[in-house]
């Protein structure tokens, strides 16, 4: 007989012995929380119930417990409430409608304080297209078989493409099945780790991460260079991995391109599944805009949507920003925005001339990206870690600045123009065959043009 049935037997036996009012008051929301070694823990909703059951009903409860299960020796009462069902994003939006969208809220409070998840991210509002369908499929499949298929799942891609959305959607799906989920950025992991060292609460820190069913760490690349944090994370990773707990990581680049990441972590990150999220194509941008428009319950004409999708090509976040601008102005003027107005509103974003970039910017971005000093980039060091970034920098100067080979050679401390030609040809060839390199160069370009 299981605990639930056992308690039902007790309740049926006690009910006729006492008044209905007493029964309803004192036995409502009680259940057996655990049964072990002859000790039954009865969960009661509050301290009054505990006091009352302990003093008035322990005898009859004990009697009927022992009728069914002779080995019971002791009853303990604990105060415990069954957790209410998890609030999904849908429930919340219903409530939100009442005050419309006008009164702004502290967004931070939407975040669940136990899991750190924001319920607004779900698979339902994630737009799938060719650039992210693999990542999406992998995410869906691990929610069905956590820990078994791809562990860890490593999702990488540029900023504003939906990594966090996907990560949180996985987390929210698990949270609804009452799995112990924790979502955290690697920065917060690091700072909590540091705090726990200084407060000498390292054990509770370890416990917090190691007793989870699903651990999600966003922007794992920031762990690079922090040796002790990496060490701690390594052990956490192993503990979870050995017990088949699901780990999900995200980064703006592949594990191989995260500099100063310990080799043992790198190999573990690559041991599960690596998937990338790329830039959305035109059709996908239209689909994203349409979903957003629908979720905001407003109307926007097809041509305006197409115009935005055509002119904002960078990432999803900027796409959303442009959409919000258009919506805000249509609300302000109380009319539907037509194409002409949309063009005007977005003119300062779309017509922004490409800021000329300098070769210095390229030096800085490349050396930052690979975490090497600018000096060595321009020097004569022939180590592989230096040579490749140097060749990439040359390649970028050629492709982005249209600089001449001799000019580039000069900037690199008077190198011969044939050296530069060799480097550019080499990178160009490799970009076509090596997907990782292509991604890296894409990211560097994005950073060069970002501000």
């Amino acid at each position: 007989m299981n605990e639930y049935d056992l308690w039902q037997v007790v309740l049926t036996e006690i009910e006729p012995q006492i008044s209905k009012a007493n029964f309803v008051t004192w036995f409502k929301n009680t259940y057996i929380s655990s049964k072990k070694d002859g000790v039954v823990s009865v969960a009661v909703p509050n301290a009054f119930s505990r006091e009352w059951l302990e003093n008035k009903y322990t005898k009859p409860i004990m009697r009927s417990l022992r009728n069914t299960s002779r080995d019971i020796r002791e009853i303990r009462y604990i105060i415990e409430n069954k957790k209410p069902t998890i609030i999904t994003a849908q429930n919340q939006t219903v409530e939100k409608r009442d005050i419309e969208e006008t009164q702004l809220q502290f967004e931070e409070l939407q975040i669940d304080s136990v899991t750190n998840l924001n319920p607004k991210y779900s698979f339902d509002n994630f737009v799938v297209g060719s650039s992210n369908e693999l990542a999406h499929a992998a995410a869906i499949s691990i929610t069905k078989k956590p820990g078994a298929l791809y562990n860890p799942l490593f999702i990488y891609g540029g900023v504003g493409l939906g990594k966090t959305h996907l990560l949180q959607a996985i987390g929210n799906t698990f949270a609804q099945t009452r799995k112990k989920v924790l979502y955290i950025t690697s920065e917060r992991f690091t700072s909590e780790f540091i705090t726990s060292i200084s407060n000498q609460t390292i054990d509770s820190f370890k416990n917090k991460y190691r007793n989870k069913d699903v651990l999600i760490i966003d922007d794992i690349q920031f762990i690079a260079g922090k040796e002790q944090t990496q060490e701690e994370f390594f052990h956490t990773f192993n503990t979870l991995h050995e017990t088949n707990k699901q780990i999900i990581l995200s980064s703006d680049r592949t594990p191989r391109s995260i500099p100063t990441l310990e080799e043992r972590l790198r190999s573990r990150f690559e041991g599960g599944m690596l998937v990338d999220i790329g830039y959305p194509n035109y059709e996908m941008r239209v689909a994203i805009l349409k979903t957003k428009v629908k979720s905001k319950n407003i109307f926007l004409s097809e041509e305006v949507i197409n115009y935005i999708a055509n002119n904002i090509q960078k990432n999803v976040r900027e796409l959303e920003g442009a959409l919000n601008l258009v919506i805000a102005s249509s609300k302000l003027n109380n009319n539907e925005t037509n194409l002409e107005q949309a063009k005007k509103i977005l003119s300062h974003i779309t017509s922004k001339p490409n800021k000329p970039i300098s070769y210095k910017k390229i030096f800085k971005t490349v050396s930052d990206f690979y975490e090497i000093e600018e000096k060595s980039l321009l020097g004569k060091n022939r180590k592989r870690e230096i040579v490749l970034p140097r060749q990439i920098a040359m390649f970028l100067m050629r492709s982005e600045l249209k600089a001449s080979y001799p000019f580039i050679g000069e900037r690199f401390g008077g190198k011969d123009h044939t050296t530069v030609m060799y480097a550019c040809a080499k990178i160009e060839k490799e970009v076509n065959t090596n997907h990782n390199l292509e991604q890296e160069i894409g990211l560097i370009k994005q950073q060069i043009y970002s501000d």
Binding site: T25, N46, A47, E51, I79, L104
Partner: protein
């Protein structure tokens, strides 16, 4: 039971406990106050199973005993009777009250179904003067959430650290935080709990006129509040604690500001009240920060239009924001002192309001989207 008691003490004990009765339909005994002798005092108890209020007053006890009574008749009768000593006597479930030339029989109930009070674990506690905690609670209580959607927000968050006690409340549109200094010699180190609104109100109601030291005993599931014993009227409140983790609210508090506005609180509150008369359905009024003044504007197509301005000391950029005037007013009322400072970043972000002098309290408010 047979005893003599001073009328005003008895009445005080009844009014302290009667608020917490009269709403329970499943267990009707809870609509009563339990009157019980304990050595040489008379103890009155009421509870709704989440909160218990206990009042103890001295009495001349001749026979021990107890009875549960609906407090309405009893207090109604006592309010209108003269001062002096009252004789209380029970006969089964009847209470006899004799007082000078008055004599009544009031029907009550035997106490056998009245709930037992949970015991208080006195290991962890802190103390605080009643005047300080009641005024602090009244400063934060109107920002508590009334929606059950997030249970953690339906109470006042107490965060006790080595140096101070913080009281926090938020309904996700605004947030109040009050910081109280604490006696460091006490044995509570880091502790936190969420006190239900009902308990907070009961504390304010019962202790605000009392000039005494309050003890807060913190347990896993409950908190017990009581004044120092051996006073004429001893009051004790036992409340459950709201389960769950309070959100990491510190992320909400803005650290830097682009605009600061200092204005007279009284004048500003008056103008907001007037502007509120012309607010639309969503209670919105518009504030504009200009060079050395703050203008207030509101408009309702069915009523009319309002505008006013107030001289202000302004630092930083000009701003324009829309607020729910009710939220703005209740925040202003919570702030002590004559002058308040508004700290603003942008028209769609949180604005912080605090007293110019007293920095132990602040109110953060989210605007209405333009």
């Amino acid at each position: 039971m047979k005893l003599y008691i001073k009328k005003e003490l008895f009445l005080k004990a009844i009014s302290a406990t009667e608020k917490n009765t009269g709403k329970n339909f499943t267990l009707p005994i809870l609509n009563n106050v339990l009157i019980k002798t304990v050595e040489n005092i008379l103890q009155l108890t009421s509870t709704d199973l989440e909160l218990a209020t206990i009042a103890e007053v001295p009495a001349k006890i001749e026979e021990e005993g107890s009875i549960a009574m609906n407090p309405k008749t009893l207090s109604g009768f006592l309010v209108n009777s003269p001062e002096g000593e009252v004789l209380l006597k029970t006969k089964k479930d009847i209470l006899l009250v004799e007082h000078r030339n008055y004599k009544t029989n009031i029907k009550g109930f035997l106490d056998k179904d009245f709930p037992l009070l949970p015991k208080t674990d006195k290991k962890k506690f802190f103390t605080i003067p009643s005047t300080i905690i009641t005024s602090a609670l009244s400063q934060v209580i109107n920002s508590v959430s009334i929606s059950d959607l997030k249970l953690e927000l339906t109470g006042v968050f107490f965060k006790i650290t080595k140096n101070n006690i913080k009281l926090v409340s938020t309904d996700s549109f605004r947030l109040s935080e009050k910081t109280l200094s604490r006696d460091k010699s006490e044995n509570v180190n880091e502790e936190s709990f969420i006190l239900p609104t009902k308990a907070a109100n009961e504390i304010i109601r019962n202790y605000q006129d009392l000039n005494d030291i309050l003890f807060f005993y913190i347990d896993k599931n409950q908190v017990t509040i009581q004044n120092e014993e051996n006073k004429k009227v001893n009051l004790k409140i036992i409340s459950k604690i709201i389960e769950g983790e309070y959100p990491e609210y510190s992320q909400i508090i803005p650290k830097e500001f682009t605009t600061k506005v200092i204005i007279s609180k009284k004048e500003f509150a008056q103008q907001i009240k007037s502007a509120g008369l012309f607010a639309s359905r969503i209670n919105d009024i518009t504030l504009r920060v200009e060079k050395d003044k703050l203008t207030i504007h509101s408009q309702n197509n069915d009523v009319g239009e309002f505008s006013s301005y107030i001289e202000a000391h302004v630092e930083g950029e000009e701003q324009e924001m829309r607020f729910n005037y009710n939220y703005l007013l209740s925040g202003l009322n919570n702030i002590e002192g004559d002058e308040v400072v508004f700290k603003i970043n942008r028209s769609d972000g949180p604005t912080l309001v605090e007293s110019v002098k007293n920095k132990d309290y602040f109110y953060i408010l989210m605007p209405i989207r333009k």
